[in-house]
Symmetry: D2
Subunit: 135 residues, 4 copies
């Protein structure tokens, strides 16, 4: 298992008239957490795309436990719990400034070869840094 934590400050743009973060905006928080968790391992998603592999989202599920509010510094914990193969599953837990768990989610992504538009296996560069966490 591989876990990583990153902090995200809620922007005014992300709130709605309930005074909460709009439910669709957590997807971008998840994206930031995924990308930063890979960067921490020396993996750049930008480089991956430039090498010809894209990772579109296949499934996304979110439970909204407590609303996130403007200007809160959220802690987003992202985990990869299963060894990725042709898919990769990211799990998230978001905590507010009081340390309360406010949101949980899961996102399943595929690896797609841009040149053929077909699914492919996890790239070697990602395998090399991730697989040691699943021995």
């Amino acid at each position: 298992m591989y876990s990583f934590e990153t902090n995200i400050r809620v922007r005014y743009a992300e709130t709605d008239q309930m005074g909460y973060v709009y439910y669709g905006n957590y997807a971008a928080y998840y994206e930031v957490a995924r990308v930063e968790s890979l960067r921490h391992l020396g993996l750049s998603y930008r480089d991956l795309e430039e090498s010809g592999i894209i990772m579109p989202v296949m499934e996304n599920c979110t439970k909204y436990l407590i609303p996130a509010r403007y200007d809160e510094l959220l802690k987003v914990k992202v985990s990869i719990k299963k060894k990725p193969g042709i898919k990769i599953l990211f799990c998230y837990e978001i905590f507010n400034e009081e340390g309360n768990l406010i949101n949980t989610g899961e996102t399943k992504l595929a690896f797609i070869d841009k040149s053929t538009a077909r699914p492919c296996r996890i790239p070697e560069v990602m395998k090399n840094v991730l697989y040691p966490y699943f021995d």
Copy 2:
């Protein structure tokens, strides 16, 4: 069961550099479909909020089958399959211009009394128009 269909044109703002609709933006499509399905029954979500009831999203799950692309006129079919009580569940199927099913999802919302910030039962006005579909 109550079903309703609405059309949504994909905006440039909603695409990402993959050339697909960003996965977080389907939440807004779902919102539009929910609100229009209620309006079709004579229910205004705006009025509901002004009367003191808000409906925050508790859970949202999405499967991305085929990417939606810029300028496509999507057909969003929204259904309420179970009689709502203290929660209401909306199910979605999105079709592209070729008629392919490209996205499915489910959203669970609560009814919250703004003055107490506590869950409440479905408002009478909504019950009156929705319950006949579940006899």
Copy 3:
């Protein structure tokens, strides 16, 4: 001069905790108005991009006179007041349901040849339908 009007319903996603449409979201309303004004003339911006011309925004200015609010059906009037050449300028006036002018803006776009990434003149297909309005 060429003018066109289109209606846009404010989404919950577009509001912020002030209860107003977030100031950055008018850019998408302008985009919808531009694209629909061209479609009305038989021009598809999607087709234009597929033919190898993109139209990035060079400048955008907006005056926020009265806030737009959730669920309002806005009327967006878009005008091209000057004959376009290597740039095209769109002007906007947005009216709320009471008919009040709530927002004005201007957007300058360039024509860029995707293959060379260099500016080019207005495409013939657009010239043919727009120039008659400036005789």
Copy 4:
């Protein structure tokens, strides 16, 4: 004059199918820069709102010189060049990782008393920390 710099990483959510940051998303970058520039002075915009003053945007102008791209770590320089009174003007310069100036903008905001919905003068707390920069 008061100036401040902050860094913002471009999210995938913020790109569009041109592969650029969508032109409407710079408004959120400006917002982050404004808020962080005030926080650096010990001012919390969240606290200001809670004290009953909101600062809606009255005008926003942006020049897009060079596109921002996915994953770039942008440097946003924000300046207040004129002593604020009943309005406050923020100026922005955004630089990409190569140090090129890619975007400039200006945003004029008002001070509004929430209880009366009427314009008011700059709050004392803000005056106290900002005015020394304009002596």
